[in-house]
Amino acid sequence: MMTPETEEALAEAVRAARDPFRIQGGGTRPVGRPVTGAALGTAGLSGVRLYEPGALTMVAGAGTPLAEIEAALAAEGQRLAFEPMDHRGLLGTEGTPTIGGAAAANVSGPRRISVGACRDFLLGLRFVDGTGAVVKNGGRVMKNVTGYDLVKLMAGSHGTLGVLTEVSFKVLPAPAAAATLTIRGLSDAAAVAVLARALGSPFEVTGAAHRPLGAAGAPETLIRIEGFESSVAYRARRLSALLGDAGAVAVETDPDRVAETWTGVRDVADFHGRAGDVWRLSVKPGDAPALAERLGAEALLYDWGGGLVWALIPEGTDARAALGTYAGHATLVRASAETRARIPPFQPEVPALARISAGLRAKFDPKGLFNPGLTG
């Protein structure tokens, strides 16, 4: 694998290249169509370059391991609030998740529902485009509308428009306390309705998930609150009262157990070690239970109040055919290379949007060097 040590060396390699590259950060998220090409990694572009806790900002090389970033933040009582998922357990991959990989795939966790996605925390970035030019966009300040927002364009582009070399992002204080409220035994539809009530309350819910098969094989509906200790206690009380008509509300405040629960939701732990294809649906939360039913899934996990549905279904099944028409999109996250070659892993776009996307790829990567065919 080619791992340039500097941005300039990377740009030089791209300028000289005639054959395609398979771009990777830590290589933990091989989502999309199988790509043939020489591996080009960002591991050489690693390290925290600037961290200002008082300004809630950090700048790091794209290849910086997330673990290194999280450790630096934890030392100052801060964190990555978008809670990036670790795909290794679900995809059976090894390697080290990187900040550039999280940005390129716009990876977010349960807190996306309250604070926003990875793309909402990215303040600026640098990348090498397909002509070998080094481009910067955005900066390291919280508000920036100077020129077009290419940060959003690059976030979630899966390395098809350029190779990220540096990212700057907003961080947030880690709360002093957290709690998980659990209601057991709800149907999927009842659970999503309960989560909607929680999210529509003034009590700042930062996690809203439903495990149809919870720890003891029974459904668990999960709500997270975070903040100062007295505030968490108050909100837990108010939410318990608000939702009590749906079932008994158990409140867990042990920090390790709360963290474990939500890491499990974030990483879809319920599917780990189970065979089958994994699909990820982004839908209007209220539509989720009915859509999920069409899938006939072996296992399900609802996050984001229902807006994110993880489904484990038999290998080689086209979930889109089962879903029919709905508002949202479905991604085939885990399947054999054969299935990923046959069923487009990313949601096909309507022709008008596909034209724009193809036009952007042709402009940013005119030689077709970066992950060709990955999203096609």
Partner: protein, 481 residues
């Protein structure tokens, strides 16, 4: 500030163009009498004016599509316009352009409290989006100062912010979906009630593109439940540096107030004379607002007061009632109006890393002395979004040019400090020629490629954002006479 010369060939075809538009629009939705088009000659950046060729006021996405299709076929530039409140000249016409105003499109199309969104036509004003959902206890978070007048269309075009975005983010963080009409008249749907894009994040690219990629006619916006309560705390300090250090300490302590506003002495005095908010006569004033239940507010304000005490504040005043809260905010919210009473001013919008506040404020003070023009500072300190107001006399020959030169120097200072030219107002024409201070040619080239894809003929909102010489080879060549 230079604008391209109008295309004489377009001006000579005015009658034909008007006739084609008239076939698609009701009579009262098409304005082409020079006496009437003058009403659209500028936006809130009134220093620059130019009446357009015509003005269209469509009432539906279909009418917007018809107008753009005709203008595309006729190769006529189009300037989209929301409510015309841009401080950056984002809706400044050229003489050969058609202004496309969306003000008549102000319906609420759908409200969904269980899924927490509202879908509106984009001519609707920012404040009336909240107005549509507040009875159910919800609100739309981005709150630019012009929220009573400004339209969602303009908010999306400029990715507007506001005082409360420290906690709730700016427009792009609250925009879920958009109906976009492209320059050729085709209509595309981006996003919706679900989160995040399945492919490239084109919604994120459209937001903040200053109306140069497409015209957004309908928007799906995230709505949030109102907090149980909110209360501001007013703090006065003996210097800008001390106030800036206090802001940094509050954030480092793990508090996330919903707003931290900063005013310096010139601004405090003007606001006090204007609004009689009871502001103390100090060098620097902070207004910090927190949200939650009464007990939660007490706890957070208690911590903030402890932090402030380590900076020896001259004044520390916690609101004791809704009336007192309103009064504290009244002074801040009337800042621009108050300054306007005593002076002409240019409002800047540079953003800097919060840690650079003291140094940049001192630099602004030095520049102000060197130019002999007063500068009052009022800004969103929590996110480093500064609003220096350069005070000048528009009737004195040469003062506007001097004030603009001072503004350019201040914005360059912001960029040098690690910041940017504009935090929430947009580039428009105002900061167009400063883009090179922040972006290298290849950075702008990458942005212009995006426009090449969405609007290959470069007809939408001409002569904005990119310096004219930078975009020269892409902009339409003048048709030969």
């Amino acid at each position: 500030m230079e604008m391209p010369a109008p295309d004489a060939a377009i001006l000579s075809r005015k009658d034909k163009i008007i006739a084609r538009l008239a076939k698609e629009l009701p009579a009262d939705a098409l304005i082409h009498d020079p006496a009437e088009t003058r009403a659209y000659e500028c936006d809130a950046l009134t220093a620059y004016r130019c009446p357009p060729l015509a003005v269209v006021l469509p009432a539906s996405t279909a009418e917007v599509s018809a107008v753009l299709r005709i203008c595309h076929e006729e190769r006529v530039p189009v300037v989209p316009r929301g409510a015309g409140t841009s401080l950056a000249g984002g809706a400044l016409p050229t003489a050969d352009s058609v202004i496309l105003g969306v003000a008549r499109m102000n319906d609420v199309l759908e409200t969904d409290y269980a899924n927490r969104f509202i879908r509106v036509q984009t001519g609707r004003t920012n404040l009336s989006v909240t107005g549509a959902v507040e009875e159910e206890g919800f609100f739309y978070a981005p709150d630019p100062s012009s929220q009573l007048a400004c339209a969602i269309a303009g908010n999306i075009a400029m990715n507007s912010g506001g005082a409360h975005c420290l906690k709730y983010g700016v427009t792009t963080n609250n925009l879920l979906g958009a109906t976009v009409v492209l320059m050729d008249g085709s209509v595309v749907e981006l996003g919706g009630a679900h989160l995040d894009a399945g492919g490239l994040d084109l919604l994120g690219v459209i937001c903040g593109s200053e109306g140069q990629l497409g015209v957004v006619t309908e928007a799906t916006l995230r709505i949030l439940r109102q907090p149980e309560g909110a209360r501001p705390l007013l703090m006065g300090f003996s210097s800008n540096e001390v106030a800036g250090a206090c802001v940094s300490d509050i954030i480092k302590a793990g508090l996330l107030p919903v707003a931290i506003e900063f005013m310096d002495r010139p601004c405090i005095r003007a606001c006090e004379d204007f609004a009689h908010a009871g502001y103390p006569d100090v060098e620097a004033l902070l207004i910090v607002e927190v949200e939650g239940s009464a007990a939660e507010i007490d706890e957070q304000l208690g911590l903030i007061k402890q932090i402030a005490a380590t900076h020896n504040p001259d004044e520390l005043r916690e609101s004791g009632s809704a009336e007192e809260s309103a009064l504290i905010w009244k002074g801040r919210k009337s800042a621009f109006g108050a300054m306007g009473q005593i002076n002409d001013y240019i409002c800047l919008d540079g953003t800097i890393p919060v840690s650079e506040l003291p140094r940049v404020l001192k630099g602004i003070g030095d520049l102000s002395k060197a130019y002999g023009l007063g500068v009052a500072n009022v800004f969103h300190a929590g996110d480093g979004n500064m609003h220096p107001l350069i005070l000048f006399d528009a009737n004195a020959p040469g003062e506007l040019e001097k004030a603009e030169a001072l503004g350019a120097d201040i914005l360059t200072l912001c960029v040098e400090a690690g910041g940017c030219l504009t935090g929430e107002h947009g580039v428009g024409v105002e900061k167009r020629d400063l883009m090179a201070a922040q972006y290298a040619p290849e950075d702008m080239e990458a942005q212009m490629r995006v426009k090449d894809v969405f609007d290959p003929d470069w007809l939408l909102n001409p002569a904005k954002v990119f310096p004219l010489e930078t975009s020269a080879s892409r902009r339409p060549a003048m048709a030969a006479e």
